[in-house]
Assembly symmetry: C2
Homo-oligomer: 199 residues x 2
DNA sequence: ACCTGAACACCGTTCAAGT
DNA sequence: ACCTGAACACCGTTCAAGT
């Protein structure tokens, strides 16, 4: 019964889903509008009934990706609502795990393929939510004396930047073998985040 | 006298230079082999006499970019050879400045466009040198008691990751307006690096 | 050895036409 | 309103041919 719902159904979401699948199988460079259309079983020009252009489809894919990241972070920190320091560590590790599990999704989210992000309100809102969640954890840590008192948004940029930087360099193969042979990415992230709470 | 040296000259380097110029003017998505060839004044298939494929040209462009970054870092820290802490700050700010001055060069270096980096020895060597320079500064800071004693390579991943993460998030427009209205990227980097030396 | 031009498969986008 | 198929400009890559 769930077979071929579209053709006259929810093609828009089918295209987004097809895009995510191609991304996982062929990487960012393998993602084309024509392949997405073909995988959804429609002609190569059908997507233009639902998306202005390729950028617009990419916006939808990255928006969905940010929502997924938001959810994974939320689930990772939920069990520790009374222990901000554990929330910070769990959140950082979940971020790293998301990047490792969905490498090409992570790459398309942060590699500048989407060129005028401001034009896509749903995208802006999804990233705003994710950043807001980080700020909340930071603030809870500060209230608990686990992090230095400083403007929470600035501290959030610092901590998120730390995690994001290590994960990004790892994904790009920029971290030297002498390091990666001895430490996993999760370990490196964990060590780095601990330094924020050590002072 | 320096006009049209190639046609029968140093086409290989002319192509790399043309690529860097297109990158600066049209961004990563505007970089095509055919445009590069055209800008160098040769037919669209001429580049194949010097590069196996587009990936190979991109490898040459990113290699040259890493060499440039290496040089800018070297010049930034040179004046402070007797003050490791100042070297650290100056290096971090130079890294941020490089990214802001050569945005698309920085993006192509770290956005995963180059897909099998290991296949390009000159590229591997250029990135190794850059990382090595970071490790040296870290080590000098540790010897001077400015940074915690820890495996220098691990500390380098942490510090470089911190700077790289903030700069990357800024370039991707992921840092909230409430932060960027009040602080420049250089300021955010500076604040974050200071926290490493504060403990 | 280095470069050209035709050729091919693939791509994003537009548009007239169909339902 | 949603989808198709032809068309166009652009792209990466190959190959026979020229110098």
């Amino acid at each position: 019964m769930p077979a071929k719902k579209y053709h006259h159904g929810d093609l828009k979401n089918a295209l987004i889903q097809a895009g995510i699948e191609i991304l996982a199988k062929e990487g960012v460079s393998g993602l084309s509008l024509r392949k997405v259309a073909s995988r959804a079983g429609v002609s190569h020009s059908a997507p233009y009934s639902h998306f202005k252009d390729k950028q617009s489809l990419i916006a939808a894919i990255t928006t969905e990706s940010f929502r997924q990241l938001y959810e994974e972070l939320r689930e990772a920190i939920a069990p520790f609502s009374s222990d901000p320091k554990k929330q910070l560590t769990a959140g950082a590790l979940a971020y790293a795990q998301f990047a490792l599990d969905h490498t090409d999704m992570f790459k398309i989210m942060f590699s500048g393929v989407l060129e005028k992000e401001k034009d896509y309100p749903a995208y802006v809102e999804a990233t705003r939510q994710t950043f807001g969640q980080v700020v909340q954890v930071i603030q809870a840590c500060q209230d608990a004396g686990v992090l230095r008192p400083a403007p929470p948004e600035v501290m959030a940029v610092s901590v998120w930047g730390q995690v994001h930087g290590i994960v990004s360099l790892a994904l790009e193969g920029q971290i030297s073998h002498t390091v990666l042979d001895r430490h996993s990415v999760r370990e490196l992230v964990s060590l780095a985040v601990d330094q924020f709470t050590a002072a």
